[in-house]
Symmetry: C2
Subunit: 361 residues, 2 copies
DNA sequence: CGGGGCTAGTTAAGACGCTGTACTAACAAA
DNA sequence: TTTGTTAGTACAGCGTCTTAACTAGCCCCG
């Protein structure tokens, strides 16, 4: 560790504070970071010259002494390009502000492309998005299915016919911008953590064609021994259950994926449908109980079709979690819907860039 | 972050390397830490003057150039006092080297003491250990049951009648030494991680009077939203199971705690006993599968009576884990016995001190 | 209404930590 | 013996933080 790393760390502290707490005076930044006013002034001057922050006039608070000048982060000064590859059929992308709002949205049918052709298609798609940006782009974030290591290498993504592919490195080279790649469900967790106000210790369950999960523990993303953390979709939850796409039986995905849920409630009257969904909820709660107990999670978030998830299913899952973990663990636990809906993965991809380039998350 | 923090970090890098890799030349330390030889020389000189490292003569390797002088950590130069409070009836303690070997062992019957009286007893016990040390003591580590926050405050330890008790602060004050306190099962995980060579992502299950767990994720200990991570013992694993001490039914503890296991095999012939243990193993595997899947754990360690755990139970649990998680997750998973036996908690308590005082873990 | 008290922010000097460069020390190979 | 290589050290310089001392701007009070 060198002095310049300490400098970068302090710079991130300032940005992190401005990002989450809003405009702040230099003096308050000094108190919050426990650095001196001198150091903060210096850092702020650098950030001002980069256009990352701006002065916003004096603080409205009326106290004795010289009035403080508020410094705020210019969340519209730079933009981030985010791509969501979780859908087999269509690439979704956006140009986003630093606060995770999509300024421009694009999507592109994948048309069955896989392997290197898909990388080329993704490159072109990213270029389109970059040129659609209205401000300088600080980086590109990609949420992809499959196992992705911390260097942005796709270890394995069977449906894309990607294996041991250094996607981040390839795109960084081709786009001449910093590119960061992570698993889509892990991205979702990052998105909910940073933009959705989720707890420090939480799990996001993404329910769509399949079931994925991303876990945050004590404020950082869980990677796992083989970068495969979050593979809850293929944990067995029903003995001798339905055949799963993975070849095994009774995976969580066979009861919780959106198509499975639709099938389960098809043609049923509302009460019976609720009972069916509650059954899935109990199964989910039973599977999650050991995870919640072992990690003492503060929140579990469900991301996916609200009409299926946010009702009897969620209530039954919470009940099962409460019944099956000790009161001290269950008392602090919330089970709620994710707040970012369809943009979760895009938002998370943006957070990848935000965290890596500015140290904000 | 200040420059001196960077210095402390670099110092820890050196110690960490020497601790885990053994004696190393300054030049090799420079390469390993990517600092310059100049900086390393300076750091090593400071460490030499503190007696933490020593020169060990020239490196046996025969290459061109000036032969390198090996520098090694003096793991016997300082000692750590560790206390294990996990047993209701007896306090166990030890004076340990920096490598986690017990030099002196002591134990003290608790004689039903609780609350403040127990704190006083613990203080006296620690003083005894400190005076039994043959080298300067760098700190005291305590592994305690109950919920312990990161400042060493006992949030709740019902059996000790401790609640919201700043144990680490009290002992630091009374003993005039740095004192660090953590949950006993979490300590066990730390001990196995640092001294037992456990994987970066792993879970240690401690089986004794009760069942506890400690989780390491990507090399750091999981604390949880309310500092209660590792409470796996009271996750429901058997529907309508036996009544648990916690008042609920079918907790993992009701089948996996040592007394429960002994009852389950009492009077059975070996084959029947193995079948009973295998049943518990399957239950355990089923409960652990979601945890292993969500975190992509590399290892699960069992700590407790080997005659009960290390046989049919372990085999069945591994089989269940393999059956119930996806192959990619299960392939890299090991389920083995902990290596440190009865000293796990003591070793972990030592690691608390080692990590906090020297930055080594 | 003018000075004392307080807070915000800047300037200047100094301490600390790392680097690059240049040096000496100690060996192997030619 | 000379040359080349590697280990370790001395010294100047740069970056980064701190403390101390300053200016700026406001409230309060006599």
């Amino acid at each position: 560790m060198l002095p310049e790393h300490a400098r970068a760390h302090n710079r991130s502290l300032v940005l992190q504070h401005l990002f989450h707490e809003g405009p702040t005076s230099r003096a308050d930044l000094a108190r919050a970071t426990s650095l001196t006013r001198v150091t903060i002034s210096d850092l702020v001057n650098v950030l001002l010259s980069e256009g990352l922050v701006e002065e916003l006039g004096v603080q409205p608070g009326r106290r004795v002494g010289k009035p403080a000048i508020l410094v705020g982060m210019r969340t519209d000064a730079y933009q981030i390009v985010a791509v969501d590859l979780s859908d087999d059929a269509v690439m979704r992308g956006a140009v986003m502000t630093l606060t995770g709002e999509a300024v421009v949205r694009r999507s592109l049918p994948v048309a069955g492309q896989v392997g290197d052709a898909l990388v080329d298609l993704l490159t072109r798609f990213a270029r389109t998005l970059i040129s659609a940006a209205t401000r300088p782009v600080i980086g590109v974030g990609v949420g992809s299915p499959g196992v992705v290591d911390d260097s942005g290498r796709i270890v394995e993504a069977p449906n894309r016919q990607w294996s041991d592919l250094p996607l981040a490195a390839i795109l960084t080279d081709r786009l001449a911008l910093p590119v960061h790649v992570a698993n889509d469900a892990n991205s979702a967790a990052l998105g909910e953590y940073t933009y959705g106000g989720a707890a420090d210790s939480m799990l996001v369950l993404t329910v769509g064609q399949g079931v994925g999960a991303g876990v945050m523990v004590d404020g950082s993303r869980v990677r796992g021994a083989a970068d495969a953390a979050g593979e809850l979709g293929h944990v067995t939850v029903v003995d001798d259950g339905e055949l799963c796409a993975c070849g095994r039986r009774g995976c969580l995905e066979t009861v919780l994926a959106a198509p499975a849920l639709r099938r389960a409630v098809a043609g049923l009257d509302p009460a019976a449908a609720d009972e069916a969904l509650a059954g899935v909820g109990r199964t989910l709660g039973t599977a999650l109980a050991p995870v919640v107990g072992a990690l003492n999670l503060g929140e579990v978030l469900l991301s996916g079709p609200a009409d299926l998830l946010d009702g009897a299913l969620r209530a039954a899952a919470l009940q099962a979690l409460t019944d099956r973990t000790m009161p001290a663990t269950a008392a602090g636990l919330r089970l709620r819907m994710a707040t970012l809906d369809e943009d979760v993965v895009l938002a998370g991809a943006a957070v990848l860039v935000l965290a890596a380039q500015l140290g904000v998350s």
